[in-house]
């Protein structure tokens, strides 16, 4: 018997949601290659540096540093950073949607407690979704030349959002994948699952090819900016 709030997962819907997530993730990865800031010298940073700064001061330093870069590099970095944050609003529902559907699919195959646990894990994705949205709004309003150092309480709350987001999502993904692995090894899956898996593999291959085409080299030659800073 299914527990309340259980939703039957649909293979086609999962393929679409996963595909959109992979594509937006790929575009965001391209944008992140333009993240530069100035702190002592011109250096690269990642979204994770902004999500998990050592201190409130470090977050403000990263953001202020973007505005201290030479105009061209500063605009490029800002455009990329803001662009990624806006695109993230599209990415967020699809990434947590993917995990939600996976959890529901596993829940469907489980009995007793397992069924309930994975249904709960699926609905738990609402928490990281909201944490991610709040985090994005916070960062967007923070990106300004005079980025203030947040109060300790605000910074702690910001760090907590990141921990909740990554904690729930990664525990769910690890549990789901290991359980799917179990079902695969025991041959406990339908033919429909093979079709879904095939589509996912094709989507991943396409993204991989796109990544190879766009390359992974830095877009800026940092040597030309060696004489600024400090």
């Amino acid at each position: 018997m299914n527990i309340p709030f259980y939703i039957s997962s649909n293979g086609t819907l999962f393929c679409i949601v996963f595909g959109v997530m992979a594509l937006t993730g790929f575009i965001m990865r391209l944008q992140s290659r333009n993240f530069y800031t100035l702190h002592v010298f011109v250096r690269k940073f990642s979204m994770l540096d902004l999500e998990f700064p050592v201190s409130a001061l470090e977050l403000a330093t990263y953001i202020k540093g973007i505005f201290l870069l030479p105009k061209e590099l500063s605009s490029r970095s800002l455009r990329a950073l803001k662009g990624q944050l806006y695109l993230d609003f599209l990415f967020i529902p699809f990434v947590y949607g993917t995990i939600f559907l996976l959890c529901m699919a596993v829940s469907h195959k489980m009995n007793f407690v397992g069924h309930s646990i994975f249904t709960v894990l699926a609905w738990a994705q609402v928490a990281p979704l909201f944490c991610d949205l709040i985090e994005n709004f916070y960062l967007l309003q923070k990106i300004r030349p005079d980025a203030a150092i947040s109060k300790p309480s605000v910074h702690k709350a910001y760090q907590l959002l990141g921990k909740i987001k990554w904690g729930i999502a990664s525990i769910s993904v690890a549990s789901v994948i290991s359980t799917l692995f179990y079902f695969w090894l025991t041959g406990n899956f339908s033919y429909g699952a093979i079709s879904v898996l095939s589509v996912i593999i094709v989507e991943l291959i396409i993204i991989y090819i796109l990544m190879r085409i766009t390359g992974n080299k830095p877009t800026v030659d940092l040597d030309q900016y060696q004489n600024i800073g400090n």
């Binding site: 010298f41 690269k44 549990s175 179990y182 400090n230």
Partner: protein, 502 residues
């Protein structure tokens, strides 16, 4: 990052009296009193003195991280005995003490108490201002001698858990076909295996991220911003805002007198200060502030920050981020000439990167050597910090560990520059006092108050013994004889960028 003022005060209960009032320090002063005042042995260590009877010497202070506290103990005793300093030089921790001795008050003033006050107000751990994870590793690594064994144990446990989980997966996967209830155990085991790999992945990812941060930060774990702000505020508090302020403080001398006739007279006696830093772009030893003309035109020297010189001198590689000087006007004829004259470098860089001067010259006593002086007017004193462990002195090379072997190699390279000078000019050893500090780790920024006091006491004791043993007349005679001997052997002069005076 906590501010140097708010983050340090109130975190230590030490006062200057805890150092200076220590029974062993008082005993040192009594010993000196007995050795000189009460025994009628005149206390003469220099021919240069002032109206207050202070005697003047040159002083070099060795680098050595937190062991620098011992330097303060040493200089405290020297100052208590009425010794003051005309030329000062130091590397790393020695540069910090040197800087404070230069900027506090006037040449004829005693400075150790104020330096002690600054140390009492400083929480040393704030100097380790890097990522919390790195701070934690540094703290554990330095303060726990069995940290390596602990880490090794943790790795073994994690590896064993992985093995057990995978064995459980393997066994339950097969058994579930014979016993249906085991399917539940198998599913749980698979979920735990997934979580286990999540943890491993997280650790790997986190380590990689920390390493990437390290790379992005120029391979320095700690930014060194806290130290920079701390020393900058101390300089400003003592009226040194610009490089010209520093030079003025270092060169201003009171009215001096010569005790004995000397062909050199007092006219050529000039005060100065030198901080040693290692420059990696052009691979040179830099003497601040004398070599500022390499980085700015004379008229723009004050655009450099004096606190930066000390920050550059103490930038322990990997432990601290490097210190950079940018925007060097490398097309300026004046700057080009300076580079050509100093390092024979026709193409000056636009940016230079400094790490701790200790990797090239941790004990720069050679900068006080002036081969033109026949009879010295004042001695060059040096304070050596000896933290070598007895086992490190083992010559049984076959028993060295890999770290011991690499450490030996690195130390051979970094010490030989200064050692070579002392081997060729053995006479200078007579002015050097050695503080035995083998019980302390130079990178232990988590010192207990008791350790700080003990180091200060060791410095005071070393200074006491040194002063009791020191004989100025012998020193003068030895220095003159060395000069004659060197002239006979036609030894070339040591390369220095200015004309030192002794």
């Amino acid at each position: 990052m906590p501010s140097p003022t708010t983050g340090t005060t109130g975190e230590t209960s030490l006062t200057t009296e805890d150092f200076t009032g220590h029974p062993e320090v008082i005993n040192c002063l009594n010993q000196l009193d007995e050795a000189f005042s009460k025994s009628n042995r005149p206390f003469i260590i220099s021919d240069v003195y002032d109206d207050d009877g202070n005697q003047y010497v040159n002083l070099v202070q060795k680098g050595g991280g937190v062991l620098g506290i011992a330097l303060v103990g040493y200089t405290y005793i020297l100052e208590k005995m009425g010794i003051r300093f005309i030329r000062l030089a130091g590397t790393s921790a020695g540069a910090i003490n040197t800087a404070l001795m230069t900027v506090i008050g006037e040449k004829q003033d005693s400075k150790s108490i104020q330096i002690l006050k600054a140390i009492c107000d400083l929480n040393f751990f704030n100097l380790v201002d890097g990522h919390p994870a790195a701070r934690s590793v540094i703290k554990n690594f330095i303060t726990h001698q069995d940290f390596n064994a602990k880490v090794s144990r943790w790795f073994k446990v994690i590896f064993a858990i992985g093995l057990i989980l995978m064995a459980c997966d393997f066994i339950t996967l097969g058994l579930q076909y014979k016993f249906q209830w085991i399917a539940v155990v198998a599913k749980i085991s698979f979920v735990f295996t997934g979580l286990y790999f999540l943890l491993i992945g997280f650790l790997a990812f986190y380590s990689a991220r920390l390493f990437r941060r390290l790379k992005n930060a120029g391979f320095g774990i700690n930014p060194g911003n806290f130290f920079y702000d701390w020393i900058k505020q101390l300089l400003i508090k003592n009226g040194v805002v610009k490089v010209s302020d520093l030079n003025r403080k270092a060169s201003t001398l009171p009215k001096l007198y010569l005790r004995a006739e000397n062909p050199e007279t007092l006219d050529t006696l000039k005060g100065d200060v030198t901080f040693i830093a290692s420059e990696l772009v052009t691979q040179n030893k830099i003497q601040f502030p004398a070599m500022c003309n390499l980085f700015r035109e004379e008229s723009k020297i004050d655009t450099l920050q004096p606190a930066g010189f000390i920050r550059a001198s103490m930038a322990i590689p990997v432990f601290f981020e490097s210190y950079f000087i940018n925007n060097i006007p490398n097309t300026s004829a004046e700057v080009k000439k300076a580079w050509m004259d100093t390092f024979n470098e026709p193409n000056p860089p636009t940016e230079v990167r400094f790490v701790d001067g200790g990797i090239l010259s941790n004990f720069p006593i050679n900068i006080f050597y002036n081969p033109k002086v026949r009879v010295p007017r004042l001695p060059s004193f040096g304070i050596d910090l000896d933290d070598s462990k007895p086992e490190n002195k083992s010559t049984n090379a076959i028993h060295w560990t890999i770290t011991g072997y690499l450490g030996r190699m690195f130390n051979t390279i970094r010490y030989y520059y200064d050692k070579d000078f002392l081997l060729k000019n053995k006479f200078f050893e007579r002015g050097i006092g050695k503080i035995p500090l083998s019980d302390y780790n130079w990178l232990n920024f988590f010192l207990k108050d008791e350790d700080k006091i003990n180091m200060f006491v060791l410095g005071a004791k070393a200074a006491t013994q040194f002063l009791i043993d020191f004989d100025w007349e012998e020193y003068k005679k030895g220095r003159s004889q060395m000069q004659v001997k060197l002239a006979e052997e036609n030894v070339p002069e040591t390369t220095t960028i200015k004309t030192p005076n002794t």
